[in-house]
Subunit: 203 residues, 2 copies
């Protein structure tokens, strides 16, 4: 463990949990700075103030470390919005995605993990699991809109949540273009409009 | 040049153009097989049956080779559809994107280039340029729908084209999930529905 963690960054749990938190924080920093190719377990141990042996014994490989980091990120992520209005909820989701992708640490971290997933099955699996957890967190926003009668009853609610993220990740990874407030607003608005029109009805 | 190019693979142009075609084909094969990290100019020269010196002199680096490959891919890509119906045109676009991403050679090639772009500015620039060219090719499908009065007059036509690709690339790179006929159909339908509702009006 680092001797002086910043206030508020110490997570609950005993020494094992504290070691994990320190190692995952260090792994995230390293990924954001140097990408997956630069992820070295010995260097992560040094940054975390933890013995090398502990890190090698507990995680064993950079791939396993990234998988655990993604699992932790899913657990630590912000809870969904619950405004009672679908557009407002999805707008909050779009802003959260946009804020994450444009964050000075989180943006490069996501880029690194997504790049690693393109050439490693286990990382891809962990990445998909991360998004399953995040999509499941936000799905009730859409389900409640269905229950209120605002969307067709056979709407595929998780697909509507994914539709909000898709154009933002497309800019982030593929086409380029600003990830600004307008992009987030358009993503939320388009997903709601298409859902209203029945574009996400289950086949 | 390879001594026996397959019929139909020889492109027009003189020796310089033939060398370029052979080298870019070999570079694409190598990227699809081993990813960007495995792209070696000497190996590309060998595969293409071209002298190493020619490849080093003309391209100089793997990054420059990928940039030229992307420029060539943009030139060689399929022309847009022109059915006179917006949904049919965008459905053709969605199927083309889906067929590309699920193709045994093109899928891994796009994964490799997108991964390389996450950590290299010049590759990112070439990638963005590739999508600008592709989006511009398909934009008239949307512009014509605007002219026919089917969409709001201030619709951002390129953004509608990008909206068709976004959910397919999101599955491909981020969330996982099948890139099937239903995904392509949903992508086209959602983009048209959101465009009708004014979600892509210019700010």
């Amino acid at each position: 463990m680092a001797d002086d963690p910043e206030p508020g960054t110490v997570r609950p749990g005993g020494r094992t949990a504290r070691v994990r938190a320190a190692v995952l924080d260090a792994a995230g920093d390293a990924l954001a700075e140097t990408g997956f190719a630069g992820l070295d377990l010995g260097e992560v141990a040094r940054r975390a103030g933890v013995g090398k042996t502990t890190v090698y014994r507990r995680w064993g490989s950079p791939t396993a470390l990234v998988a655990d980091l993604l699992a932790d990120m899913a657990e630590q992520s912000a809870p969904r919005s619950d405004t009672g209005a679908l557009l407002d909820d999805l707008r909050a989701n779009a802003r959260l995605v946009r804020d994450t992708l444009t964050d000075a640490r989180q943006g490069p971290l996501f880029r690194a993990v997504i790049a690693a997933a393109t050439c490693d099955e286990r990382t891809a699996h962990a990445l998909h699991r991360f998004y399953e957890v995040r999509v499941a967190e936000w799905t009730p926003c859409v389900e409640q809109a269905v229950q209120r009668g605002e969307l067709p009853p056979d709407t595929d609610a998780p697909e509507v949540v994914r539709a909000v993220s898709a154009p933002l990740y497309y800019r982030f990874l593929v086409s380029g273009g600003a990830l600004d407030e307008a992009a987030a607003e358009r993503a939320a608005h388009a997903a709601v409009a298409a859902a209203h029109a029945g574009a996400y009805r289950k086949a």
